[in-house]
Amino acid sequence: MADKQPLREQVKHHLEHPKLDQQTTDALLQQLQPPPRLVQRLRPLLASVAAALLVFGAWTASMYPDTTTRHQVPPRMVEEVIMNHLHLRQMEVLTTNFDTLTSSMEKLNFVPVPPDGLSPLTLVGGRYCTLKGVLATQLLFESADGTTVTMFQTAYDPSRFGKLPRREDNEASVRVNERGVQVEVWVEQGVVMAKAQSRS
């Protein structure tokens, strides 16, 4: 059976494959060369702008002593997590054993991480899903009082997910509350973790 991956990745791969031949590329780049006089005129202006940006950036950084405020979760990711939590689909793997779940989810390009601080919760199972267009896993946990907690995991790519707090650096996770669901996001062992819990 052909290997299935998220649509966005497959389309990207398909559309980014064709390239111009070298001769055409060189000819077009030659045409697009900026006129020398313009470049020379801009150079001192660009240098001044770069210096001003550096000063502004340093001043802005000093206004934010708390590093967690610099972390932002992409809005679409929060939306995906909430929708998958509220419209819970059937788990593809049913098990209370994390090692069994890990070995069953062969399509993932990362190893699911048993998250810290979840000991009062019991693993129920897991399923494949996507997060921001990449293959991920949704894990279902249950507490003693029957509360459902879902956790999403996927390999961390800063260019896709932006800067997220790292558990290993003792950075506090980002919390978002929307539509009665509390979403908590952090990175642990190179894996993006997004925990969703309905607020009582």
Binding site: P6, L7, Q10, K12, H14, P18, K19, L28, L29
Partner: protein, 161 residues
């Protein structure tokens, strides 16, 4: 902005997404770049300008050939959630190549902006100067084609093809 091979290829890939044909894509790209060079001093965002010029040139071509199909007006609320549905869709490479041959130029263009440029429906609408509902409708038609393809494959497997 300095152009390099990567940016040129990204523009070429957009033109190819529009035209569906390598030779036509190169022609459209060349013409768009020539127009840009004439207006260069007044252009703030060259990549967006060249993309926009390329699409105008291509759709003018289609109008002259009377090949342009217009989207019907739709209520954007009808297709809310279609972006999330496409985000969650799993597919193999062969099916992507096949689906792509079935799409209209407008659908190919929207799919390119959604997948390669990572734009939302609103951002695509802003980029193309169209209503968000129109973009959602296009994405919905793409999803319908994906559904139909899945049904064909399942039917084939069921009949032991």
């Amino acid at each position: 902005m300095t152009f390099d091979a990567a940016k040129l290829n990204r523009l070429y890939q957009f033109c190819l997404a529009l035209t569906g044909h390598p030779a036509n894509a190169q022609d459209v790209l060349q013409s768009a770049i020539e127009r840009y060079l004439q207006q260069r001093k007044n252009v703030d965002e060259p990549m967006a300008y060249i993309r926009q010029t390329a699409r105008h040139l291509f759709y003018d071509q289609l109008r002259r050939q009377r090949c342009l199909r217009f989207d019907t007006l739709t209520d954007p609320d009808l297709y809310e959630g279609v972006e999330q549905q496409l985000d969650a869709w799993l597919i193999d490479q062969q099916s992507v190549a096949h689906i792509y041959t079935l799409l209209t130029p407008q659908e190919r263009e929207s799919l390119f902006l959604w997948a390669v440029e990572g734009m939302t429906a609103q951002e695509i609408a802003d980029q193309l100067g169209e209503a968000r509902g129109t973009i959602l409708s296009r994405l919905h038609r793409i999803r319908q084609r994906l559904n139909a393809l899945d049904s064909d494959v399942s039917e084939g497997q069921h009949h032991g093809r």
